[in-house]
């Protein structure tokens, strides 16, 4: 009897763990699109392998586009595989391109961080090594490249004068979502300068409203509001100059501007962020904001669809964090290019990959994609019909700049307070060990110098 019970318990535990695995793995690892089409019986189809990460809204649009592609070109079959995001994806990306087992692959952003002559000893990024090893197809002569905004192709898809990648959209990272209802009820308006922003936060606190939510547990969301500070403050608003400066020893991680960035970030973290923000994970933060628990949310523009899903009733906007006292300078977003396509040179079906990219580049299909993704389009004259993009993002796109993490070329083996192109405000008290911005800045400069090429 006892044996039977323990066997039951064990069996129960086993199925439980299996069920839990199943739950966590929604959608499975590989989700070949068009499988439901049911016309698999027709024999010799040429397979196009596309590798991408899981992001529900975009995946759905991709499957739609792939289906249309297969209808138009019945000789092809698209095998659309998605993995978990970030590191899991990076791993899959490397494995598949090295094995020549992919035709089209997405990258997390446009081309970036390529070593310059002023960055001796800097690491060569993956994409550049792949191109140098002849693994990525040259798209320069493809007519579909003309469909894309020439400036965006130049900035995010060109290497050594040749086009290798198609950036499919931009996202803003430096803004704050705000709850329009809370702002209206309390007679508050969108701040244009740093002091207005501080006053807004104080007003909210005086009324017993928590100003800002952020997902500190994942650490990287803390970088987002700081991108605004870095872009507008470093180098007097010329980040590129400041970055070149730290390499050449003209500027420093503990110079007045860099400390101002950290000080301002610390002011926000210490006074205006929700209690226990270091324990909030990224997946649950939109619902905290959507439920009206905070007036603002520090997050990238890509999360707008998630917030809207969490509370369809919520009226929310998005404004750039005003980093300085200069309202005109503050009034633009800092961000990055998002999903960027590369075609593999030595993949099983390069010709199919080019065909697919051509199809994707047709304005009609691209519109389907960009609408679902919520990106700022990188093709001209695309109408997204999105109130969020038109009313909240477009007014601030004039001087769209790339974020620090996209521009900063790091030294190899640089210490953890600078690693991964971040500013690492998580190391500031109370969570971290540094009581003041200056202490952290000094350690950062020391680590930067320690990593100098010999």
């Amino acid at each position: 009897m006892v044996k039977r019970i323990s066997a039951l318990v064990l069996a129960g535990a086993l199925t439980l763990s299996l069920a839990a695995c199943g739950g966590g793995n929604k959608g499975g690892n590989a989700a070949p699109a068009g499988e439901s089409g049911g016309n698999a019986a027709t024999g010799e189809k040429k397979v196009i392998k596309i590798l991408h990460w899981k992001q529900e809204n975009i995946n759905k649009a991709m499957e739609e586009i792939n289906k249309k592609f297969e209808e138009k070109y019945p000789e092809y079959k698209v095998e659309y595989t998605t993995t978990g995001p970030d590191d899991e994806y990076k791993q899959a990306q490397r494995a598949r391109i090295t094995a020549n087992d992919v035709d089209i692959l997405a990258d997390l952003s446009g081309m970036r961080l390529s070593p310059q002559e002023w960055t001796p000893g800097a690491k060569t990024p993956d994409w550049q090594q792949w191109i140098d090893a002849g693994l990525i197809a040259d798209l320069s002569d493809q007519p579909f490249v003309k469909n894309w905004n020439a400036n965006d192709i130049e900035k995010a898809g060109t290497y050594n004068g040749k086009v290798y990648a198609i950036p499919t959209g931009k996202v803003a990272m430096s803004g704050l979502f705000y709850n329009k209802q809370i702002f209206e009820e309390n007679g508050l308006s969108v701040p244009k300068t740093w002091s207005e922003f501080i006053k807004l936060n104080d007003d909210l606190k005086a009324k017993g409203i928590t100003p800002i939510a952020v997902a500190g547990k994942d650490v990287w969301p803390l970088k987002l509001p700081v991108f605004a500070l870095q872009s507008k403050i470093l180098g007097g608003g010329n980040q590129q100059k400041w970055i070149e400066g730290v390499w050449k020893g003209e500027t420093a991680f503990n110079d007045a501007e860099a400390i101002e960035v950290l000080e301002k970030a610390k002011t926000i973290q210490d006074n205006y962020m929700i209690d226990g923000f270091m324990g909030i994970d990224y997946a649950s933060v939109p619902s905290i904001f959507a439920a009206g628990k905070t007036a603002m949310l520090a997050d990238g523009s890509w999360d707008a669809p998630t917030i809207a899903t969490a509370n369809p009733e919520l009226k929310f906007g998005y404004f750039p964090l005003p980093a300085t006292e200069d309202a005109a300078k503050n009034a633009s977003f800092v961000g990055k290019y998002d999903v960027t396509w590369y075609a593999a040179e030595k993949g099983p079906n390069k010709e199919g990959a080019l065909k697919w990219l051509e199809f994707f580049s047709e304005p009609e299909n691209y519109t389907t994609f960009v609408k679902a993704a919520g990106f700022i389009p990188t093709q001209d004259n695309i109408s997204t019909d999105s109130e969020f993009i038109d009313k909240e993002l477009t007014p601030y796109l004039g001087d769209f700049e790339l974020a620090y993490e996209i521009m900063m070329i790091n030294r190899e083996n640089v210490g953890e307070h600078l690693a991964a192109e971040g500013v690492h405000t998580e190391y500031l008290a109370p969570g971290g060990q540094f009581k003041t911005a200056k202490e952290l800045a000094d350690v950062q400069q020391k680590e930067w110098e320690a990593a100098a090429p010999k």
Binding site: L10, M278, E412, N413, V414, G431
Partner: protein
């Protein structure tokens, strides 16, 4: 006289042995040796790229570059992790095993319950404890708040996260060590205790002089398994903090450098070699020490 026959069939056993030997050499021994060789090169995970010998450069980079302070910290973390996990896990496991071995009512049930976390697997265990330790709404924080009026950040705390990971690791694998101890305990002959009883031993003496020497082989096995296991653990760290908040160990660094760092494979190979050497030292010491205690009556 000729158990394997004559002529060709004499060599048959050796030929058959070749199959597992070849598999072992190709898939285990070969890659291990290659790792050592790679650690002296600048090999890259890019097809068609060249490979050059760079001497001790990778080892130099490990310990004398901008971020080598963090390397030392991961080594220290690894040692702390190993000592605490090995001692506490085996201590608790032995205690529980002795309790269960007393022919309690429902000992099968307890056994199953204590073994359950092993069956659950790392991902599930990490999920369970991430929810238990959720700083915003987790039950453990509510308990802390009620009892001590204190709230913790758990896996997001620079000072406490590593301790919580050690706790979860022990919680997870305690049942495994317990099962091995239990098997050892059940093989101790009852008449030894009777003889001891006649000689007037108390419970502690019986444990110290009869039980403990006789289960020394299980002790050796458990020590080795937990040392090696603890030294090469990265999965629970990956699943709870992902190496943030000062929770990196050497094994985690190897994983991170290999699969998420740059495409260079030399540095992570060197790191694995260093890790291997440290494990080797501890395993040799542990085997020598525990072997001494093994006896047979």
């Amino acid at each position: 006289m000729y158990p394997f026959g004559k002529g060709f069939s004499r060599y048959l056993p050796y030929l058959l042995l070749l199959i597992p030997m070849a598999l072992y050499l190709i898939f285990y021994f070969g890659p291990s040796v290659m790792t050592v060789i790679y650690s002296f090169t600048d090999v890259k995970n890019v097809p068609g790229s060249s490979m050059n010998f760079v001497g001790l450069d990778n080892y130099h980079d490990l310990f004398y570059s901008g971020n080598s302070g963090e390397r030392w910290r991961s080594i220290l973390n690894t040692l702390i992790f190993m000592f605490v996990v090995t001692i506490v896990q085996n201590g608790v496991a032995l205690f529980v095993a002795v309790l269960i071995n007393q022919r309690l009512r429902g000992d099968y049930f307890y056994r199953a319950v204590f073994f359950l976390p092993v069956v659950l697997g790392v991902a599930v265990v990490a999920l369970i404890w991430s929810m238990m330790f959720d700083p915003m709404s987790g039950p453990v924080n509510m308990l802390y708040d009620k009892l001590f009026g204190y709230k913790d950040m758990f896996f997001a705390s620079f000072t406490h996260a590593f301790g919580y990971i050690i706790f979860v690791q022990i919680w997870m694998y305690m049942g495994y060590s317990m099962l091995i101890f239990l098997a050892g305990l059940q093989s101790v002959p009852k008449d030894l205790y009777e003889a001891g009883h006649i000689d007037g031993t108390n419970k502690w003496q019986a444990f110290r002089h009869i039980t403990f020497p006789l289960i020394a082989p299980s002790f050796t096995v458990n020590m080795l398994l937990s040392i090696i296991g603890a030294m090469s653990t990265f999965d629970i760290i990956l699943a709870t903090t992902d190496g943030k908040f000062n929770t990196r160990t050497m094994a985690y660094d190897v994983y991170k450098e290999t699969f998420r760092g740059s495409l260079e494979m030399g540095l992570p190979s060197a790191l694995s070699v260093v890790q291997f050497l440290i494990i080797l030292v501890f395993v040799i010491v542990a085997v020598k020490q525990t072997r001494k205690r093994e006896v047979e009556y």
